[in-house]
């Protein structure tokens, strides 16, 4: 075959729908990626597969019932919505809850952040084909799950918060046991930080991938580690603190974790370092736990008021806008989950990257882009339709990297 017969062809534009079923995303989405050759040139996000009508349902329930409904918005950040709704009702009723309740509430939130970030780290390792570290990190995640179970009585939906305080106290034995286990957890997290930074298997797949510039991150309203990985200082814990975060901020021992890298590696570093910071926060909270009651009585009928309760969930800022009307039911309750804010920036991070990097970029804004997704490849030229599970797509991605990346 002579080279003279060859001609340059423009690669055809191919649209790849990914989704809609994601096993573990709170908002199952569908991503339509348009690719040219290996490069993604356009991306579109469809959401709404998980719309359960919670906001309407809440208008027919009392504040105490909504608390448990709020918890089931998302199973990974259940304490987030539960605690944020409780705090919104307390703000509307203008009740100050006891100091000890504030500390225990914040402790649950921080432990939840640790479990969520380790979960994300495991999923990220899985997406780049590093399954050993995936299994390792999920094994060590059980330490924090056990801590949460001892603290609240359940592994996932904790129901720790109630309107006016928390439901369970922390005994002295539990306090010392939690402190011991935090040491163990910190040791493991430092190990994972070193693995994430030094292990080439992981680092070469995330270095320089999925770049989200600082200006774009600001304009698209990115939140949480996605924004902080792009050097945007948004963290409600420091900017608009409530509960015991006021004390944590005033103690001056903790700082917002930012990264200037702007890529997936930056987001990974922010999450890992933030986990270690969270462990320190938990230790500080347990060591400075004040004495006193854990619950304040709040009347079920809440005066007419409107409040905007904000809290930094593991994935970013959660906003609850609550309007009360003097009855025991909410008049209007709006929830903005952090992932909802990150979909807009998603498009910018995907464009210009390789298709092989799409799983890790999708996973980088939010954890749990897990293994049972189904991808359909539609080739516009050949009318070829092929259904591929994400597993196989990942295998292909890793194979492609072995052939073309060559770095590891």
């Amino acid at each position: 075959m002579s080279t003279g017969n060859r001609k340059t062809v423009t690669p055809p534009r191919v649209t790849i729908p990914i989704g809609p079923q994601h096993p573990a995303l709170k908002e199952p989405g569908m991503f339509k990626l348009t690719i040219e050759g290996e490069r993604i040139v356009d991306a579109e996000v469809n959401i709404g597969y998980n719309h359960r009508g919670i906001e309407k349902l809440a208008e027919s329930k009392t504040h105490l019932q909504v608390l448990y409904l709020a918890e089931r918005i998302c199973g990974i950040c259940s304490a987030t919505h539960n605690g944020n709704y409780a705090q919104a009702v307390e703000m509307a009723a203008e009740v100050e809850i006891p100091e000890r309740a504030k500390f225990i509430r914040t402790l649950t939130w921080e432990l939840e952040r640790i479990h969520s970030h380790i979960l994300w780290l495991g999923v990220a390792f899985h997406e780049v084909g590093f399954d050993t570290a995936f299994m390792y990190s999920w094994r060590d995640r059980e330490i924090v799950m056990d801590m949460l179970e001892d603290l609240s009585g359940n592994r996932v939906n904790y129901s720790m918060n109630t309107i006016g305080g928390v439901r369970r106290n922390v005994s002295e034995e539990l306090r010392s046991s939690l402190l011991t286990r935090l040491d163990k957890l910190e040791e493991r997290m430092i190990y994972y930080r070193d693995v994430a930074i030094q292990e080439k298997t992981f680092w070469n797949r995330v270095d320089g991938v999925g770049v989200l510039e600082t200006s774009v991150a600001r304009a698209t309203g990115a939140v949480g580690p996605t924004a902080r990985g792009s050097n945007v200082p948004v963290d409600v814990r420091f900017n608009d603190p409530t509960q015991a975060y006021v004390h944590l901020r005033d103690s001056g021992e903790f700082e917002m974790i930012l990264s200037e890298r702007c890529d997936v590696a930056g987001r990974a570093i922010v999450r890992v370092v933030e986990t270690i910071e969270s462990i320190k926060m938990c230790r500080w909270l347990l060591q400075n736990l004040p004495d006193g009651p854990i619950r304040e009585r709040v009347r079920p009928r809440v005066q007419p008021n409107e409040v905007l309760a904000r809290y930094e969930a593991p994935r970013g800022e959660v906003v609850h806008y609550l309007v009360t009307n003097g009855t025991d039911k909410p008049e209007r309750w709006k929830v903005r989950a952090p992932t909802h804010a990150n979909w807009v920036s998603m498009r910018h991070t995907l464009i210009g990257n390789y298709l092989a990097d799409a799983p890790i970029i999708l996973a980088a804004i939010d954890p749990c882009f897990s293994c049972t997704d189904r991808v359909t490849i539609v080739d516009t030229d050949d009318n070829l339709i092929e259904s591929v599970p994400l597993d196989i797509m990942r295998v292909r991605a890793n194979k492609w990297y072995r052939q073309n990346g060559g770095k590891f």
């Binding site: 079923q21 994601h22 199952p28 597969y49 719309h51 359960r52 939906n157 049972t372 259904s387």
Partner: protein, 171 residues
């Protein structure tokens, strides 16, 4: 029953492939299913393997109360599975709609959309409960396929306190 059929039935019970589908769940059940597959409980020791495609799967684990938009997708995926197929509803939402009963966009339970073989209640069920449910299903299946192991001795009721004192069961 021919020898080959017997072998196939035995293989079916000994290595069921499961497929996980989220029909509008809150993730709680999903991470607990994953936790059941992780090193601590390791569901894979029963031969259970998580696969990514419904066409490979024998058992579909479904979480969530089935939202209106996901229902046609769920039914299509159920049709894609090869016979014999079994559906396990994991979590309170999948069993009955749970806390979302009365919502305008949910069906209230997986059995409103497709036939269900087994239910695992709990909000969310603990990984141990999921393991237990999966094991129970395998037991029932092995009886149904006629490949259950012959009982050699009398079944002794499981005594948790005795097991704990011997250090067998986790405290």
């Amino acid at each position: 029953m021919g020898f080959l059929q017997k072998l196939i039935n035995k293989a079916r019970v000994k290595s069921p492939y499961v497929f996980h589908f989220n029909s509008g769940s809150c993730n709680g059940c999903d991470i607990e299913i994953l936790a059941a597959l992780m090193p601590r409980l390791d569901l894979e020791r029963f031969g259970v393997k998580l696969v990514g495609s419904p066409r490979h799967a024998d058992i579909m684990l479904i979480t969530g109360p089935v939202t209106e938009q996901i229902r046609p997708r769920l039914q299509r995926i159920y049709e894609q599975m090869a016979e014999p197929k079994f559906v396990v509803a994991v979590g309170s939402c999948a069993c009955s709609g749970g806390v979302f009963r009365g919502g305008y966009n949910v069906l209230g339970g997986v059995d409103q959309a497709i036939p269900v073989t087994a239910y695992i209640p709990g909000c969310p069920p603990k990984p141990t409960a999921i393991t237990f449910g999966a094991y129970k299903l395998l037991e029932v299946l092995s009886k149904a396929f006629g490949v259950a192991e012959k009982k050699e001795k009398e079944e002794v009721p499981f005594d948790i306190t005795a097991a704990q004192s011997e250090g067998v069961a986790e405290t």
